[in-house]
């Protein structure tokens, strides 16, 4: 499922913002990180916007997985 990568994306995004806020990166590095950050932010937004809740009965899950 996508959620594992959602968590990874959010963590990486927060990491990027932290690094940039420390202000010690070169301009080239900053721009590269910025691009990565914007891309991650866009993906997270898309994931959240497109999600619809799924409800399954335990018995169905058991039958389906077995």
């Amino acid at each position: 499922m996508q959620n594992k990568s959602f968590e990874e994306n959010i963590n990486r995004l927060e990491e990027i913002v932290k690094i940039l806020e420390q202000g010690e990166t070169s301009l080239d590095d900053s721009i590269a990180l910025f691009e990565e950050g914007v891309k991650l932010s866009g993906e997270c937004n898309k994931t959240l916007e497109g999600a619809k809740q799924k409800i399954t009965m335990l018995t169905d899950v058991e039958n389906g997985e077995k």
Binding site: N3, E7, L13, V17, L27, S30, A51, K54, L58
Partner: protein, 400 residues
């Protein structure tokens, strides 16, 4: 006179029937303190005495009555019992047969709850160190509760609103009555066989202490304690505390609160993402602005330095230029002087000026001659300033 001699059996039987025929003694309430308590584990019958400051009576509570007790009777406990008295013929024991018992002062449920809580707490069931953290971004959550009632609707609505990314696995169970505890334990067991379940929410809506009683079960507590998946307990209202709440990895005051604790709020996330987006853009804009300023500054400094160099050099050129002119002028003056002198010299050497002073130039055959070379009748030419005379030599006198 005839003396009636009874056997012991007859006596006991008579007294027994006396006791049992009295209506007052066939069902009444007795208050006393338990002492000499013995629980016959095999038979399940309870044997004890009830006493007060002045008297004691032996008591028995048979298994089928004792089974209904929620709490465990103990020595020293003050209780109120409903029962009857009779005589146990075999050993002549006059005793009180207890049909029902409640603790005096505190409710039987409260007492039972305290007993179970103390027991499990001693056994380490509630230790913080055993509790697992709740996953922040669950992919799948199992919800063990009744499929009717407000609790399940609240949980589904709130999780659906906050984090639709998470799949909900519904496990409907009885939440009160005899079937509750086996249902709950069964659900916990089955949920652990399903892959990828991140969190379990177990609970029910509000109710009386009796209604919530299933969630105080020791066996349920054991199942939750040994469950490999983190469990959020959400039983009743905020003021209701059950054993389930203490042994779970996290207690929620209500089922709605459980839903809020189990999943993040995606609306907050949109804000968070938006916030991070803004921060990113701001940081980059600032960095670019600062770099641009740096360039401008360097530019200005560069221009200043260059222009200084140029004016410097221009000044040098002017200075050299002046020096050049000056030295040329000097040279010119020098040359003029030399020229003047030379011209003067030339003029003095001009043979015409010699002529102007009255001298003549004499030649013979166009060649200059001296007197010695001349003889009488030589033809000579004499050049004067204003013309020439062709002459013949008359005589020659030589200087000695």
């Amino acid at each position: 006179m005839k003396i009636t001699v009874l056997s012991v059996k007859q006596l006991n039987s008579y007294v027994k029937s006396l006791l049992e025929s009295d209506n007052h003694l066939s069902s009444f309430y007795l208050s006393g303190e338990i002492s000499n308590f013995k629980d016959h584990y095999q038979s399940g019958h309870l044997y004890f005495s009830l006493k007060d400051s002045d008297a004691v009576i032996k008591a028995v509570m048979f298994r089928f009555s004792a089974a209904h007790l929620k709490f465990k009777p103990q020595d020293g406990m003050k209780v109120i019992c409903r029962g009857r008295v009779s005589l146990y013929e075999r050993d002549g024991t006059y005793q009180f047969y207890v049909e029902d018992m409640i603790p005096e002062g505190v409710g039987d449920l409260t007492l039972a709850f305290n007993q179970i809580k103390e027991k499990l707490e001693k056994a380490g069931y509630f230790l913080e160190s055993h509790k697992k953290p709740i996953p922040k971004f669950p992919k799948r959550i199992a919800v063990i509760t009744s499929d009717t009632g407000a609790a399940v609707m609240d949980i589904l609505n709130i999780t659906g609103r906050r984090w639709p990314l998470c799949e909900i696995i519904m496990c409907p169970v009885h939440v009160q009555g005899e079937l509750a505890v086996p249902d709950l334990i069964n659900a916990i067991t089955r949920v652990q066989t399903v892959p990828d379940i991140d969190t379990i929410i177990i609970g029910r809506g509000g109710g009386s202490a009796e209604d919530l009683w299933a969630f105080n079960s020791e066996e349920l507590a054991t199942a939750i304690y040994s469950c490999k998946i983190p469990v959020i307990s959400a039983v009743g209202h905020e003021t209701d505390f059950t054993i389930c709440d203490f042994v779970a990895d996290l207690r929620a005051p209500t089922p709605s609160a459980a839903a809020e604790l189990a999943v993040p709020d995606c609306n907050k996330f949109f804000e968070h993402l938006g916030g991070m987006d803004k921060r990113l853009r701001f940081i980059i804009a600032e960095q670019v602005k600062s770099a641009y300023l740096k360039i401008q500054l360097l530019n200005t400094r560069m221009r200043t330095v260059i222009s200084e160099m140029i004016t410097d050099k221009a000044q040098q050129i002017d200075s050299f230029s002046d020096k050049l002119c000056a030295s040329l002028n000097d040279k010119l003056k020098c040359c003029e002087k030399v020229f003047g002198i030379t011209l003067g010299k030339l003029n003095t050497l001009n043979p015409l000026s010699v002529l102007a002073r009255g001298y003549t130039v004499t030649t013979k055959d166009n060649l200059s001659v001296t007197a010695r070379e001349l003889k009488t009748d030589d033809k000579i030419t004499v050049k004067f300033l204003d013309g020439t005379a062709n002459c013949i030599v008359d005589s020659v006198d030589l200087e000695k």
